[in-house]
Symmetry: C2
Subunit: 313 residues, 2 copies
């Protein structure tokens, strides 16, 4: 920002894209829309759209796109956590012209069926473990060069959360533990053959695979330091449901007893409602106590992921 006049410079189209995560049937799912037009016709993409220059902030644009695509009203939107994820502007990421997109990350409780915004031919909640993503992270080496990040935020909603490893019905392919390790570079060629959910691979349009991978990394990290897991649940929830959120997003089981005590010991994470769930466990057991989100914005001490030891070295 120096002496130049902005009007002397070639403008760039600016969009927002939103990685909306939710928990459904104990599985982490992402909202995707099927592209009706070229390029990447028929491929799945993140919901998003163009920023209305000068009329709205980036945050507002993201909230607007989120509302349009999910059909949520303003009240429901309040319970959704929305934060900026990062911006992506590699030349050629859109074959038509230079486009910079500002990506957002949203945590939502189980929402009514996606309705496919006005401009998308279809929208669906796709299980993230059915996606093929390139390793995740902005960089092979987060050390030198430009690297990725963490974040914080908050909200609440309405969802049970029974962690069933897997059930039935046609659905996108699994992926071994490790969440995709190919690390291939993102931007696929436009107008490849594109699969539909349940049919095998599931390539995403543009560089959206990388954006989703970055969003998942961010989500996993934020569960450690923030109480944002509660944003995936209803206003009232049990500790077991909360654990289900962690297990679904981290992809590994947690020790029930220790998790329970830990959650209760972190100041401001949850507060008791005094009441208990209507029913006990599906196959027996006492009724769990109900809690709501506390007033903490950061967990202290944090709830760190198990293992990881030097996995990131």
């Amino acid at each position: 920002m120096a002496a130049y006049d902005p009007r002397d410079f070639p403008a760039i189209a600016v969009t927002v894209d939103v990685v909306v995560l939710t928990l459904r049937q104990g599985r982490l799912r992402i909202l995707l829309v099927e592209r009706g037009g070229r390029p990447f016709q028929g491929a799945w993409a993140l919901p998003g759209g163009f920023v209305r220059a000068g009329q709205e902030s980036l945050d507002e644009a993201a909230a607007r796109e989120l509302a349009e695509e999910t059909g949520l009203d303003a009240t429901q939107l309040e319970r959704v956590h929305l934060e900026q994820l990062g911006s992506y502007g590699d030349p050629g990421r859109d074959p038509r012209m230079p486009v910079v997109t500002v990506a957002y990350l949203a945590f939502a409780p189980d929402l009514p069926e996606a309705r496919g915004g006005s401009d998308a031919s279809a929208a669906a909640w796709i299980p993230v473990d059915g996606l093929r993503l390139g390793g995740g992270g902005r960089d092979g080496d987060p050390a030198r060069g430009v690297a990725q990040d963490f974040a914080r935020g908050f909200a609440v909603g309405d969802t049970p959360a029974s962690v069933e490893p897997d059930a039935a019905g046609p659905r996108p392919p699994e992926q071994g533990p490790g969440h995709g390790i190919d690390g291939g570079d993102s931007v696929p060629r436009p107008d490849d053959a594109h699969a539909v959910p349940g049919s095998g691979a599931l390539p995403l349009a543009f560089d959206h695979a990388r954006i989703v991978a970055d969003g998942l990394d961010r989500a996993r990290a934020k569960l450690e330091y923030t109480p944002l897991a509660t944003a995936f649940l209803g206003e009232e929830f049990t500790i077991v449901e909360l654990r289900g959120v962690y297990e679904a997003i981290w992809g590994s089981p947690l020790h029930a007893g220790n998790f329970h005590r830990k959650v209760l010991s972190v100041p401001g994470f949850v507060e008791s409602t005094g009441s208990t769930a209507a029913r006990g466990g599906a196959r027996g057991g006492p009724r769990a106590r109900l809690y709501r989100a506390g007033d903490a914005r950061l967990l202290h001490p944090a709830l760190l992921r198990p293992d990881r030891e030097d996995s990131v070295r």
Copy 2:
């Protein structure tokens, strides 16, 4: 990104701005340039410039601006850590037209004097504790709504690092402990009266105060979870110098003995060079051993800030 064609939409100017931090005389400093033209003529601003649409990635644009403004060559740039911080696009943040800026955060070792890029009338390393920033953070409430984040990365350089509280010479004003608590909203009016360093307040152009505040928040957080403090030092450094980085950025003294042991106990944080510093402490004491950055990308266990307890609730 749905069915619309980007060409149908009003384009927006896209810039990159860089928050470059370094350590000089034991104080944390930021590279600022004095604006030669309007708006905000005479005010200080972040180094940055327009993204060359379609010709470079955002990361490349940031690296280019960084190099232009600091006069560093490609080799020196390799030792600088550079990561994306976030994007800012409030309507009216540039009074001339809609401009979205993608902010970057850089950690650099002590560099030669700033030379004032081709397009800036002056450039200087300003102590950050002389800046008046609005509280920091993107939001009053990081919980609901759009919130801020953390990150990771890495690099090295060349600097001693004797922590002297303050020395001499005309310079921008101090500020009591607490790093600025006014919390006023960013975007100042264009063409106010603007102070020069050493003359009192020091308002920044555009919304750069908020960007700097976010950058400092990010920097403080990253020291906890990453070995990036080494990016402020030379290739070889002592544990005491490393502690100086933490103390300057966190703004509070750390326990020397415990810090020493902690650094050595985290795998991959530092590795011994076998040699020792040429001289002992300024006023006596044994010669400190020299270390270089290790291969860890994340500190595990982390080196958490003292206190903070529930300061963030």
